[in-house]
Amino acid sequence: MTNAESGSPDKEPATADQAARMAVDNTERAEPTSQQPPERPTLGRLFVANLWAANTFTVTLLSLVLAMIVGGILMIVSDPDVLATFSYITARPADALNASWTLVSEAYGNLFKGAVLDPDAVGLTAALSPISETLTYTAPLVFTGLSVALAFRGGLFNIGAQGQATMGVIAAGLAGFLLPLPAGLHLLVAVFAGAVGGAVWGFIPGILKARTGAHEVINTIMLNYVAGYFLVWLIVQNGVQDPNRTNAISRPVDASAQLPRLFGDNLRAHAGIILAVLATWAVAWLLNRSTLGFELRAVGSNPAASRTAGISVTRTYVLVMVFAGALAGLGGSQMVLGTTAAALTPLVVAQIGFDGILVALLGRVKPWGVLLAALLFGALQAGGNRMQSYSGVSLELVTVLQALIVIFIAAPALVKAIFQLRAARAARPQTSLAKGW
């Protein structure tokens, strides 16, 4: 993506970093022409050469491979039966290798079957089921990922997507079972309430950053916990708690406020994924085509220069955080409006806020990249469920895989060194936007 942009002459490099990279690219291109005869390489050869270069796609793919290798090792060392075969590995190495291979390949096979396609599935519903699960997990991650990515582009590190999603889920849930509204309108109001809830929670660190300079990282972390405790308190209040239950669970959201199912009632995929694609498009438009987006990126790359140029940095900070909060709140609202239980519980938002950080980093803080990254994470989550129930491999492995993938893509130099990749053309992800405290 970066290449295509920096290659076209009508676009200025967005950051100094990009400009530097362009300069490097140009010199690299210039050198061979002066030494070699002007023989144009074929398209096929170019493709192969680029495939093994440290570009974004290759690095991401290899990071996934590396993460799965580490995950496989973790599976082997934590399986006593397989580990037992390693005690006589010098005598019969085939045993140990076979046992390890069976364990790991079966687990990853189930991961794939649960996320994409199960060849043994009979009937349309069963065949669509993995995709439906993947999309269900993807939708909220797109929103939290966009939230983190948008803030990142504005030079702010939003660790508070979790808290903003929590406030979003609270507002959406309350609107969902407290307001008596007709179908259609009710859903709109509930979704909007979720966005407002998140926006309020994003506004606080935004205004504190703008007015006092208080660092948003620490404030958003703290607000995550405040929101979490507020949710726990709220659920057991009269009028919120389900009167038929003794445990901490709220009344269910009215059917009129629930997101419609996409593939019939037996599959969980809901309209949230459509909203997610629309939101991705909207954020991409906001960032790349609107005045606000330009100001936002300018402030993100150099606040001092932006202020000199007449951009109100404080206003931009507040707006960025309000938009980021609203996006996370929308993601949170789906956790109550789009789930089967459709009620608030202490763990209703799961980890979508923290996963959103990983999604944003994996998506190279670009809107469409975030969508793809969320799809990958949603697939891992959906497949992880099947892996847990069929292979007995804990779902926590998915968290490990996700964290490892992001660690590897954050340090492309490491991946490059491991696989001896050709010199980078556009490998460095723009993750280092927030600098220190």
Partner: protein
Amino acid sequence: MSTMAVDDVAVAPVNEGFWTRARKTGLVLTALGLLAVLLFTTLAASEPARFTLSEDASGAALKINGTVGAALFGVVALAAGVAILAGLPKRWFTLVLGVGLVGFVVSFLCWQVSTAPAGQNFMPLVNIVRGTFILALPLIFGALAGVLCERSGVVNVAIEGQLLMGAFSGALFGSLSGNLWVGLVAAAVGGTFISLLLAVFAIRYLVDQVVMGIVLNLLAVGITGFLYERLMQPDPAKYNSAPHFSNWEIPLLSEIPVLGPALFAGNIFLYLGLLLVLVIHIGLFRTRWGLRTRSVGEHPTAADTLGVRVLRLRYRNVLLAGAVAGIGGASYTLALFSFTKNMIGGKGFIALAALIFGRWSPTGALLAALFFGFADQLATYLSAINSAIPSQFLAMLPYLATILAVAGLVGRVRAPAADGKPYIKG
């Protein structure tokens, strides 16, 4: 994280006219005092509120009528607030602020204890102090790990992961060997493992340190959770039954009323934590290593020019921090509980808050950790006496206090200048 010294960020200029930072603080304290005098006094019952000097209702006690106590200490808070508002000399500021805040808390306690159900309207001070220290322990270790890292210029958001990994490997290897000390060393190594990843990626590969910290926390949650479900849950007898350190009573000192039984009859982690505060304080401000660490954290280029090996010092401090945090994690699994999934549960982030609240100094971090531990203990106590205040709101207190602190309402908070900035020699 700095409130004022934000070099690359536009900050609305602070108008230091009449409303100085001190006066704003005084205003807040005055409001708190008014709240105490008006609300707490009205709500308090005219029953005696007893603060017993033991673990239960028996023995000597400080006794005061609930209404009188709430009013009296409320007035103390109010007076302190007004004094600051009126423009107190600077050197008195901290003392008067402290007195005012203590007055507010005691007034609050008089109200709560006096309205507790009959037979429960006493507060066992020994339990409260002991609980405060126990709950503060992981925070102390975590915050010290933060001090070591950040004073040398590496932001440590991975405290949570270091604590968790320490708790896990302490439990695992303590169980496998059946030996406490093996467990303790393993805990330190576990914390160091997370630190090593942080150090290599932040120093060698120049990955953003906050990003790396957040990702490492998730990695630690994932790895420990995965291995817990694969090993510890199926076979807890083999993998999750680490021996626990017993309490050591220090003769003579443990005879001191209230503080003695609470402070000098604890386990090794309590003594180690307090000792580490002292050692790191002296080390940081009185030794060559400390001077170098601070200079690397403030101005690495200057330090490098003078011959300090910046990167090596950073590696060493980050690894040391991991060991300290790892031992802090073991204060759970080798003294109190067996390991459970995600058992640190956000304490690492409160430790980060304590670090900032304590202004990046070991003693400040200790005080902040104790304050947060007290809030935690108070929440437990109040829910035990069926207080009208929901425990969740008390649990929010540390987080809200930290937000106020970094927003500059309490005092100036400034991070080491080079904190979070990778150093590239050149």
